[in-house]
């Protein structure tokens, strides 16, 4: 249908449809050591009632481009070239040469172009009510009395589907959940009835189920109001679900743009192809499943039994038991040698705490963890003394989520990787140096770079350094806590392949904690789904991802966006209403 109408109206309507056209936009940032050409010769158009997705990995310049449209750049950034032409209801105006704080610019910001940020937490004021913030936005851009503005704000909250808007309007930001905050942000962006909505990674900080709801909402509002939308995202799945047109950015240039069908099924540029390949790759399992290889009778390396962690259950001053939160609730599972066990769940499900409990960096309230070491001896981890724990930590290692915070910025890569070996005294002098080189090679880094500091490496490379450190003591189990969450999708696939490759060579078991179902599906043999501290479903990865049994798992799986515009999954998802 769409295609036909387009074809018919192409010649006459096309020009009128365009609300904003960006022509040859270039942006420079003056950094301490160099000039970064963050955006180079970027051109695109936004059309009424359509969504353009600007997709790219971190550092591609997509957010900066969006901010340039409203001229909210950092001080060291300058527009060196190009035009940003805003059309629509009023006369055509070029945003690029407007002076800061000029009347026109203030009118455009929020008035004709609305903006939604990634972090709903930090973009709303914590000391004002939600209502007063929306009312302020209404009053700024529309001629209304305070009373009318309040009515309008309630109406906006109703439109973004916040229940009981007339009551919620007087609540504060911290009384809203992440998804609700993002809804309030959207209401604020819509306050002045803008012609264009710019959404900068609006769902990245949210859980998949919430993400699906927010994307639904944005899509619906956009269609009903006939706005043009610029959606910035790194997630090809989201793109496939909501985009009409796609522009792929890479190192400051739009390397390819076109209709969503063209991009997904007829990609031309090598970067687009690579991006799609690594996204699609994560849609299936890594193994051709040589089931027979898994020895059935082997003893599990780790046995977790009835592990529970309760926070805040300490009796209060007056002897009364105060509020208690069960972060991990009666969790049991086995980890077999050579097995990859995935633990998935949304934020607050207790999955990270579970990992910490196994390592005892957080002490469990009750329950037991039994570990079978290389000699087949069983150890009760919860009863080990300090020396015993040191030994246990040598065999069971952790890979961190944040590749930036987990490496000491003041130590060279050689010092970082060598540290566990120095501490445990396994290698010395020349042998130590050699071992570090060996490890770096194993994780795909050039050993010649070992004298460099972590800041010289990209996120993916840093994660490799972290992996090398984890491997330094010949571990048997590795707990990877969101190890790929901070990485771009193409890097993510590389790191997962690296881990699989290492596993094959070194006979490791993995506990892979993640919120990302596609990553777990690709990497793991078995998956445990956590919800509110409990394991709701534990089973074969393929089965969980394709034919889940429990209602919660179903809703979780169906909320994951599918990176194929021909099979939009999110729109037909199962909804799960939690009881209690």
């Amino acid at each position: 249908m769409q295609a036909v109408t387009d074809h018919l109206t192409h010649a006459t309507d096309d020009a009128a449809e365009i609300v904003m056209s960006v022509e040859h936009l270039s942006l420079d940032f003056h950094l301490r050591t160099n000039v970064l050409h963050a955006v180079r010769d970027v051109s695109f158009v936004l059309r009424r009632g359509q969504t353009l997705c600007l997709v790219g990995e971190s550092g591609s310049g997509k957010s900066v481009t969006a901010r340039a449209l409203l001229r909210i750049l950092d001080k060291n950034g300058t527009i060196t070239n190009g035009k940003i032409l805003l059309r629509g209801k009023e006369d055509e105006i070029d945003i690029a040469p407007l002076t800061e704080r000029s009347k026109e610019l203030l009118h455009i910001r929020g008035g004709r172009v609305g903006l939604i940020f990634q972090e709903p937490m930090s973009s709303l004021s914590p000391v004002h009510t939600i209502g007063s913030q929306i009312i302020e936005a209404v009053l700024l851009h529309r001629a209304m009395s305070k009373k009318e503005a309040r009515e309008e704000a309630i109406e906006l909250l109703r439109q973004v589907e916040i229940p009981n808007p007339d009551k919620m309007i007087d609540r504060y930001t911290f009384e809203f959940s992440g998804g609700m905050r993002q809804r309030a942000m959207i209401a604020m962006a819509l306050a002045a009835d803008p012609e264009i909505l710019i959404a900068d990674e609006p769902t990245t900080a949210l859980d998949v189920t919430t993400q699906a709801e927010i994307l639904d909402l944005i899509r619906r509002l956009q269609v009903s109001r006939g706005m043009a939308m610029l959606l910035i995202t790194h997630d090809m799945g989201v793109v496939a679900e909501v985009a009409d047109a796609v522009a792929v950015m890479h190192f400051g240039r739009i390397v390819e743009q076109g209709g969503v069908e063209d991009i997904f099924h007829n990609a031309k540029h090598p970067y687009t192809k690579r991006l799609l390949a690594s996204t699609v790759k994560l849609e299936q399992s890594h193994l051709e499943r040589d089931e027979a290889a898994a020895p059935e009778k082997a003893e599990p390396v780790l046995q977790v039994r009835n592990l529970t962690k309760v926070y805040g259950s300490a009796t209060g001053w007056l002897g009364k038991s105060t509020f208690a939160l069960k972060a991990v609730d009666d969790v049991s599972f086995d980890l077999m040698p050579g097995e990859n066990l995935g633990i998935v769940g949304e934020s607050g499900s207790g999955k990270t705490t579970l990992g910490r409990l196994i390592l005892r960096t957080v002490e469990p309230t009750s329950g037991a963890v039994a570990y079978h070491d290389a000699d087949g001896q069983e150890k009760q981890v919860t009863e080990l003394d300090q020396a015993g724990m040191r030994e246990f930590h040598r065999d069971v290692r952790l890979i961190f989520q944040d590749p930036f915070a987990s490496l000491n910025p003041r130590m060279t890569v050689r010092q970082i990787v060598a540290d566990p070996m120095i501490v445990s005294g396994t290698h010395r002098g020349k042998a130590l140096e050699q071992r570090v080189a060996e490890l770096l090679e194993l994780v795909g880094l050039d050993p010649l770079t070992m004298e460099r500091y972590p800041h010289a490496f990209s996120g993916g490379q840093r994660q490799r350094i972290g992996i090398a450190r984890a491997l330094a003591l010949d571990p048997r189990v590795i707990i990877a806590d969101e190890a790929t969450a901070a990485l771009d999708v193409s890097i993510r696939a590389q790191i997962l392949d690296l881990l699989l490759d290492i596993q094959k060579r070194l006979q490791l078991s993995f506990i892979f904690i993640s919120h990302d179902i596609s990553v777990v599906r690709y990497f793991c043999d078995r998956v445990a789904v956590m919800h509110r501290g409990k394991i709701v479903e534990l089973g074969d990865a393929e089965q969980i991802c394709t034919a889940p049994v429990e209602a919660y798992t179903k809703s979780l799986i169906s909320a994951v966006p599918n990176p194929d515009p021909r099979h939009k999954r999110m729109m037909h998802r199962t909804r799960f209403t939690a009881q209690g």
Partner: protein, 391 residues
């Protein structure tokens, strides 16, 4: 619909960057340690750089005080009490009437008012005292090592006088006394801070690393100490110093008293940083690597703190200087014959002196202000540059 278009070229592997100025190579910091990065960040702050230069200059003056001072601090000349500052002139008229290059200061003729017995000095154009660099003046023992009489600047004839900043009530050269005072005042801050540093870092680290009841005890102790009114306490402590002690002993006990209160701020700062760092991923990683507590503290946490500690210390120095000045000004700190800026200011305590000889107030007070401001600017700059890794 949007036309399908794409760039037909190779895949780029790095973002596009160019050097800040054309023709320069792009700087690389791949193998730069934290101090290099801190320096990169610090040198952007021009005010801090300038303040640093001023402080270096002050310490240079302190180290070479004997050589830089034109006279000895104790050399008094009763006939020149409250002599005003003299200006340096470069050209003098010779006897034959021609003008020639001759750096000199003009001497005074003095009249004594018989009623009040007050001396007034009038600059006398005919009295020329030629001056020069590297002159032989009064003898002194450089650093207590060897005897010499070489001075950077002074009258060519060692019996002549030169008062570039005026003289005090005993006719002593204020410039020379100020230079000697720099040595005492600048070093008292340094030694005092050293005491504070040891106390502050040790107690702050213990408090921050262990937390719990250790933290509880140390923090309450700090609160008690910092709740005491400082001036009366100093007064009491300083009054307890036996009168028979030598100036050197008094000097050390005063630094100790001054630093007794300076360490609390430092300890709190260190504790706060420890709390923040203790939960950092890289510290957890080191713990999981099997590092014991000592290694965690000295290998992983403290190196991340040193730059912050340096900045805090720099900011603590001026409070020490001010404290010493205050004590000496009140007459309970250092006492003559030791010369410090505070001791010099003691001479400017009454209004009459200030009316007749304002230079006695202006120069020592100016030195204190310049030193304190410079330390503050330098410290601020260092604090801003202390964490080069934050984005």
């Amino acid at each position: 619909m949007t036309v399908h278009s794409f760039i037909d070229d190779e895949l780029e592997t790095a973002p596009a960057i160019s050097a800040l100025r054309t023709g320069e190579a792009v700087e690389t910091t791949a193998a730069a340690g934290q101090w290099t990065l801190i320096w990169h960040k610090f040198r952007q702050n021009k005010v801090a750089i300038f303040a640093g230069a001023v402080i270096l200059f002050l310490y240079f003056v302190a180290i070479f005080a004997e050589f830089l001072a034109p006279a000895l601090p104790e050399a008094s000349r009763p006939q020149f009490t409250y002599a005003p500052p003299q200006a340096i002139s470069f050209f003098a008229t010779a006897e034959d009437g021609s003008t020639q290059f001759l750096p000199h200061v003009q001497g005074y003729t003095q009249t004594v008012d018989q009623a009040s017995l007050r001396r007034t000095f009038v600059v006398d154009d005919s009295l020329v005292v030629p001056i020069g660099f590297f002159v032989h003046g009064p003898k002194y023992r450089m650093w207590g090592l060897f005897d010499t009489d070489l001075h950077l600047l002074g009258p060519l004839k060692s019996t002549d006088t030169m008062y570039l900043m005026g003289s005090d009530k005993l006719g002593r050269d204020l410039l020379s006394r100020l230079i000697y005072g720099t040595r005492i005042s600048m070093s008292i801050g340094l030694i005092g801070v050293l005491f504070s540093l040891v106390l502050g870092v040790t107690l702050g680290s213990l408090s921050g690393f262990y937390g719990g009841w250790v933290d509880m005890i140390i923090q309450r102790g700090i609160e008690i100490i910092s709740s005491m009114p400082t001036i009366p306490l100093w007064l009491g402590l300083a009054a307890a110093i036996p009168i028979t002690w030598s100036p050197l002993q008094v000097y050390f006990i005063i630094t100790l008293i001054v630093s007794l209160f300076g360490w609390t701020g430092l300890a709190r700062e260190v504790r706060g940083r420890f709390f923040a760092l203790r939960t950092e991923d890289f510290v957890t990683a080191a713990r999981l690597d099997g590092s014991r507590e000592r290694r965690l503290i000295f290998r992983h946490i403290l190196p991340s703190l040193t730059s912050h500690i340096l900045a805090v210390v720099t900011l603590a120095l001026p409070t020490m200087i001010v404290a010493e000045t205050a004590l000496s000004f009140l007459g309970i700190g250092l006492k003559p014959p030791v010369v410090s800026w505070g001791v010099l200011l003691q001479d400017a305590q009454n209004v009459r002196t200030i009316a007749t000889a304002p230079w006695l107030l202006i120069w020592p007070a100016g030195a204190v202000v310049i030193a304190v401001l410079s330390f503050n600017f330098l410290g601020d700059g260092m604090r801003d540059a202390a964490d080069p890794y934050e984005s």
